[in-house]
């Protein structure tokens, strides 16, 4: 015993050797580093930054007005109209640029709305359990069993098609998958020791749930949300293509594709439908790459 005690005293008085403090990188820096290494994701995010800048500074990029009708309609690309004009005579390049605003708004807006709803409901459901959990989870089951596109079409035809309506409908229908995801994470996190020590410290329940548990569950939510943006953009494009989404004259990649419904356009006037089609494919691809990259970067099991 005496041997041990002198040891203790020595250890207490002299600070502990510093070798135990390793790793200068914060977890956040580590994630950024891993993300950068994911080439496709890196390229994808550069592309998305570019598109977002284009959306924000649209008037600076093209001097023309997307609604202005020029003399020639369905004109092929020329020096005056880089990508030609559409069947009404509007400049396609300008409309393409302005349409990126619609896609970004729908993608980000809808996902923001449903991520918030899904996160809150999922967190409450997972943390409190019991009848609250049963009630909320049955509600998500009900929402998940709706045929999505059908429901959207019905609601749009009741409320009328508009950009804002689309965002809200997608936002209010998309939350169940997020809720399930968050519920799962919270279920496993609520038994972790730091939650117990939070309770023991006298923290209030909302504080424990939203400030201590949720930040630890953020990774899967973020990944899910990224893929969600791509999905929302596609749904908006489909709706607009069907004429149930964003209404002309407002430009959206989806409603620009509507022209391709005619066979002559499809075969002999590709400048009308190829550019918006390419934009949709590129943006959705880029976002999906970002999602992949994020998932890999945030995976705690990934080594480097």
């Amino acid at each position: 015993m005496p041997l041990l005690e002198t040891n203790i005293k020595k250890e207490i008085e002299t600070p502990i050797a510093y070798s135990e403090i390793a790793g200068e990188e914060t977890p956040f820096q580590l994630i950024v580093k891993r993300f950068m290494k994911h080439r496709l994701a890196f390229v994808g995010s550069l592309f998305m930054i570019f598109i977002i800048l284009v959306a924000i500074f649209a008037p600076a990029i093209t001097p023309k007005n997307p609604y202005q009708v020029y003399e020639e309609f369905s004109a092929p690309p020329s020096a005056e109209h880089w990508l030609g004009t559409d069947q009404v005579g509007r400049d396609i390049f300008t409309r393409l640029v302005y349409a990126s605003r619609v896609s970004m708004l729908v993608g980000l807006g809808a996902v923001l709305i449903y991520s918030v709803i899904g996160t809150i409901l999922g967190a409450i459901s997972g943390y409190f359990g019991g009848w609250v959990d049963i009630l909320l989870m049955r509600l998500t089951d009900v929402f998940m069993s709706f045929p999505g596109l059908m429901l959207i079409l019905v609601v749009v035809s009741i409320l009328g098609p508009s950009l804002l309506n689309i965002i809200w409908i997608l936002g209010l229908l998309g939350w169940p998958s997020v809720a399930r995801l968050v519920r799962g994470s919270v279920l496993s996190l609520k038994h972790v020791d730091f939650v117990k020590s939070g309770v023991v410290l006298g923290l209030s329940t909302p504080r424990i749930l939203f400030q201590h548990i949720l930040p630890n569950a953020i990774a899967p939510i973020l990944v899910q949300a990224t893929f969600g943006i791509a999905a929302s953009i596609i749904v908006e494009a489909s709706l607009s293509f069907l004429g149930m989404g964003v209404q002309p004259p407002t430009a959206s990649w989806g409603n620009m594709l509507t022209d391709a419904q005619s066979l002559t356009v499809l075969t002999s006037q590709p400048w009308l439908w190829v550019p918006p089609g390419i934009m949709i494919v590129l943006v959705v691809l880029a976002i999906n790459f970002i999602g992949d990259g994020l998932r890999d970067a945030m995976d705690p099991k990934a080594l480097k």
Partner: protein, 338 residues
């Protein structure tokens, strides 16, 4: 003087799918301010459940069926959840077994310390920060100011347990419940942490309830010891009496099963035969009689009471009750392998 904490005839039951099982029964003890009380027993004997009930943390299925937990003037079994939250972390705090997971990985050490301090001591963020640095300093964390910005993953187990202690003692609680605080640490760090807890206790007059299954830890730190078996207190004594003259056969068995350096190579370690009875099938009579080497027919029939045999020494055993002065039985002998 009134004791700081008085647990009286506590009975705790947990609801299962079909019925409920009683996990802790007839547990009574007191804790005075500034003293260290050790609670020992095998896994599943109700140590942790007892301590969690004091904090009001039994969870959805646990319920206090009977008894009182008096803390100062308040009965903790009756106060509101709101009041309980004020008590937690402020007047009673707790540290857990597993320091590696007790800190939230997404916040810095400083962040987590300041949170509790601001909540209970109503300080401004800047004051709370300074105070947190002072506390980290006190628990022997080098370069405390820089460490505030560090995240838990950068700290070793021992360091994290120090941070936990700093957090637990920041609000100068009257009672600190330490649930196996050193079990997950290696032995040299264990000793440091125990020493640290004692030093800080002297400064702040905090009472410590030390829950452990390690008799060595008890011998080092506790003033008084409570031995629990199968949800009951079977013996209570001050630490010297307990180690010198254990009265209950279970305590004797526990003490005899500590390995000693002077053991011969071919000596087998003493063990108590059998295992703790399941809460669903508690034996009738004395709960230890199935494993007790001295059990008599009487032990199977009736449950003994926790009886005081001398000042501060209580035992729950028929053998002692019959003849308190007689040294119950000789110590169990280590048997030879050959």
């Amino acid at each position: 003087m009134r004791p700081l904490l008085e647990v009286n005839q506590l009975k705790i039951a947990f609801a299962t799918d079909k019925d409920e099982v009683v996990s802790v029964e007839e547990v009574s003890f007191t804790v005075n301010s500034g003293e260290t009380i050790g609670i020992v027993g095998e896994s599943g004997c109700g140590k942790s459940v007892t301590s969690l009930s004091i904090m009001g943390l039994l969870g959805k299925n646990g319920q206090i069926k009977n008894g009182h937990i008096l803390f100062g003037d308040e009965d903790l079994t009756k106060v509101t959840e709101q009041r309980l939250r004020e008590i937690r972390g402020n007047e009673i705090s707790m540290i857990f077994q597993e320091p590696m997971t007790s800190l939230n990985p997404v916040y810095s050490i400083g962040n987590q310390m300041v949170e509790g301090i601001k909540l209970h001591l109503k300080m401004s963020t800047r004051d709370a920060k300074e105070y947190a640095i002072k506390m980290l300093d006190k628990v022997g964390i080098p370069r405390a100011r820089e460490m505030m910005k560090e995240y838990p993953h950068a700290l070793s187990g021992g360091m994290r347990q120090r941070v936990m202690i700093a957090m637990a003692l920041a609000c100068k609680p009257k009672l600190l419940i330490a649930d196996e605080p050193t079990t997950a640490l290696d032995v040299t760090i264990q000793a440091q942490i125990l020493q640290l807890m004692q030093t800080l206790q002297k400064e702040s007059e905090t009472a410590i309830m030390l829950i452990t299954h390690d008799l060595g830890v008890i011998a080092e730190t506790a003033d008084r010891v409570i031995v629990m078996y199968a949800g009951q207190v079977v013996e209570e004594a001050d630490v010297f009496t307990l180690f010198k003259e254990p009265k209950h056969p279970y305590t004797q068995g526990l003490l005899a099963s500590i390995p000693h350096l002077e053991y011969e190579n071919e000596q087998r370690l003493v063990s108590i035969p059998g295992s703790v009875p399941s809460v669903k099938h508690m034996p009738k009579g004395c709960r230890f009689h199935t494993r007790c080497p001295f059990a008599e027919p009487h032990c199977q029939q009736e449950q003994p009471e926790l009886a005081s045999i001398q000042e501060g020494h209580k035992v729950r055993c028929w053998l002692v009750e019959k003849d308190p002065l007689k040294p119950v039985v000789e110590k169990p002998k280590e048997e030879s392998v050959r």
